[in-house]
Structure formats: C-alpha cells, structure tokens
Amino acid sequence: MINILFFAQMQEEAGKEKIDLDIEKIKVKDLKEYLRNHYNLSQINESMIAINEAYALETDEVKAGDTVAIIPPVSGG
C-alpha cells in the first residue's frame, strides 16, 4: 500500500485529502500520470513530490509502505 497525501488545492480537485494505492512499486513519473488520469489533477506536473519527507525526482521509485506528499504550487499570502 502506498499512502498519498494531497495538500492545498489538490484536495478539492481530488475530492479527498489522502488515498491509499494498492501498488507494490511505481516510478514517480508514472505515479503522476496515474493520478492525473484517475483524479482529474490539473496541476500535478507543476507539483513537488516528496517520498517519506524527502524531495523526489521523476525517476525515483515509490515502494509499498511509503508516504508520498503531493505539493501543488501555492501562492496565497
């Protein structure tokens, strides 16, 4: 199980603030693609991704048990 946390405006788009994905492992790039298709996320390409509180690159791999934070661009101030 991969635990995905949505922050800020992602929550409204996804309709929830977290989901669990029953996947053994997946590349960050492919995870983004999956989320864009299944959750109607307009800004996933512009979002920062962190795996277990560490900044992730597109080629990094997410494994079962990991927590992934999806951090969209927030500009309010």
Binding site: E46, M48, A50, E53, Y55, P73, S75, G76
Partner: protein, 337 residues
C-alpha cells in the same frame, strides 16, 4: 523604564539573550507584500524589537482582508488606506523604537534594487509566482537570504533560501507554475496564515541573531484542518546549472523580456497586461471560481461584478473596467496566482 526592559521575556530565552537582542535591534528587514502574511510578519518583528522594517505593497485595505490580515481595522476599509500606510501607523503605536519605511509601489525588477539597499533579509509575503521568481533572482544577485511563505485553505508552507548554500525557488520548482492557488481562488482560514508567519519569523530571528546552525534547512508544509505536517529534505533539488543560483547564473527573471508588462489603453477604461500564455482549458476551468466565463478558440473571458478580463492566446490580458495598473495587477494575480 529602560528600552531593553520591554524585551525582557525574549532576552530570557537563552538562544537569543542580551547579545541576540542587540543584533536584532541593528538589523533591517524588507517585507514584500503587506497582506495576510506581511502584516503579521511586520507585527511580530516590530514587537520583537527589530531595528528597521521596509514595507512595500501596491494595494489598499479591503473589507474581505479583515478576516485574516491582523493589523487592519474597519476604519482602514472605510478610508481605503493603502496597506503599507495602515500597517506603518499600527506598528508605530505598538513600538515607536522601530524605524518603519512604507512604500505604496509595485515591487518589480526596476524598484527592487533601491528597496534592498542595506537590507539583511527579505521576507516573502507576496501572492503570486511572477514576483517570487523575481525576488528569488534579486536574492541571489544581491546575496540576501529570503524566506518563502505561502498559504491557502488550511495549508501552508515555508522555506528559507540562503544564496550560494541552499536550493533556490527555481531549483525547487523546475517548471514555473502556470497557476498558484490563492486565497481568492480557494479561500483561507486565519490560523493557516499565522502558522506560516510563525515559521517564517522564527527562521528570520535565527538569521538575524546569527544562529544559523539552528535554521530548519527543510521545507515545512502543513494542513491544519486535516492534521498533516511534514518537513521535507530538499537538498537533492539543488541544481548546479540553475539559471538563478547556479555557477553561470544569469537571473532570467530580472530580464526585460521575461517580465509581465502593463499599459493603460487610453480612453478605454482598460489595462493591458502582457504575461504568460495560458492553456485555455485549464484557464477557463480556473476562472469559474471568479465569475461567468465565456470561451472561444481565440480568447477566454471572465466577468465579475466590477470588471471583465479577456485573456488572449499570446499572453496578453485586457482588464476592462479600470485605468489603474495597480488595481489591474491585483485582480489579475488574484485570478492566476
């Protein structure tokens, strides 16, 4: 009563102490933006006894600001006082020892070089990414740290950027976001604002009293409503080829061709803004938060109570219903972030 007496509880805090307090009283901080984040950052630093604050904001106080912008009161709305001025007056009632310079202008590549003169630290209290990328380049070019802060809904984040040391905003985001969520697009609650400010001001205090070893180094992000909190190690994001902070930095966002440009269209009650060119389907979807949207292959337009905006494919936007560049930019960035 001695001037230092008022800071007694802060001097008692050992990591600051008497020597930290004296450092703080000799430092100068520039706060860019005087809305929700800016007014509270200014209040906390003023109470703490900072030497000098420079405030810059192009906007005036509006009724919808009072829900979260802590220095402002109903009379400021009634009298339409510019935010930087209203803030300065309130701050002077709190601590007359602090020198406060207030500028009701647009912070941009032309005005920044003057604003950052003698400044030890820049606090981000802006509301759009165009200005943050400019600020990021200014920080690198003039070698002044800045502290990023942003919030919407019940979420917020902050990150401390030290030139030549940490990753910069450009390293973190890689692609310039088309839109950033704003308080105007998805709302915001007061505690999210104050929590970002608390993170920003603590980091500011560490820098100002020269306790750099204690800096957070990680990006903090939270969601108060959903009880989430993370501190993200972003060391890997640092890019040696970064155009803003890398070896061959050329500060792209300070270059004329990359800036949003504005002009008043004479006699038409309209301001033209030249900015990014948008993906129309995403733009149309986003604008629905603000009013009635119509769309054709050439333009997307949105009509609110007071103005109408027309976005063209080539990146131009008309803001109909105003002759004020300041107001046009305010409305434009409320919508695109």
């Amino acid at each position: 009563m001695d001037k230092m007496d008022r800071y007694h509880r802060q001097i008692l805090f050992q990591p600051i102490g008497q020597s930290g307090q004296e450092k703080l009283m000799n430092k100068h901080v520039l706060i860019v933006g005087c809305g929700a984040l800016g007014s509270s950052i200014a209040e906390m630093l003023t109470r703490s006894g900072i030497g000098k604050l420079t405030l810059v904001d192009r906007d005036y106080v509006d009724l919808t600001n009072l829900q979260r912008q802590h220095l402002f009161v109903e009379d400021d709305v009634k009298n339409q006082i510019p935010k930087a001025i209203a803030a300065k007056e309130a701050l002077e009632r709190i601590n007359h020892h602090v020198k406060i310079a207030a500028h009701v202008i647009d912070a941009n590549p032309d005005t920044f070089p003057q604003l950052v003169r003698d400044v030890d630290l820049i606090m981000d209290a802006t509301d759009n990414f165009d200005i943050r990328f400019i600020l990021n380049d200014i920080s690198q070019k003039y070698n002044i740290p800045w502290i990023f802060g942003a919030c919407v809904g019940s979420s917020g984040m902050s990150y401390t950027i030290i030139p030549k040391q940490t990753p910069c905003l450009d390293c973190l985001l890689k692609v310039t976001p088309m839109f950033g969520a704003t308080c105007d697009s998805v709302g915001v609650i007061g505690p999210a604002v104050q929590m970002v400010v608390s993170h920003q001001v603590t980091e500011a205090m560490k820098l100002l009293v020269e306790a750099d070893m204690q800096l957070r180094s990680k990006l903090v992000i939270f969601d108060l409503w959903h009880n989430q909190f993370q501190m993200i190690d972003v060391t890997r994001a640092k890019t040696s080829s970064c155009p803003s902070c890398g070896k061959n930095a050329n500060y792209p966002f300070l270059q004329y061709e990359n800036q949003a440009k504005t002009e008043v269209l004479c006699g038409r009650d309209t301001v033209q803004i030249r900015g990014k060119s948008y993906d129309f389907s995403l733009l149309a979807r986003r604008l629905q938060n603000f009013g009635d949207v119509t769309e054709n292959p050439f333009l997307v337009s949105v009509k609110t109570k007071n103005v109408r905006l027309v976005f063209f494919k080539d990146g131009r936007t008309f803001v109909h219903g105003t002759n004020s560049i300041e107001e046009a930019k305010r409305i434009y960035y409320q919508m695109v972030g």
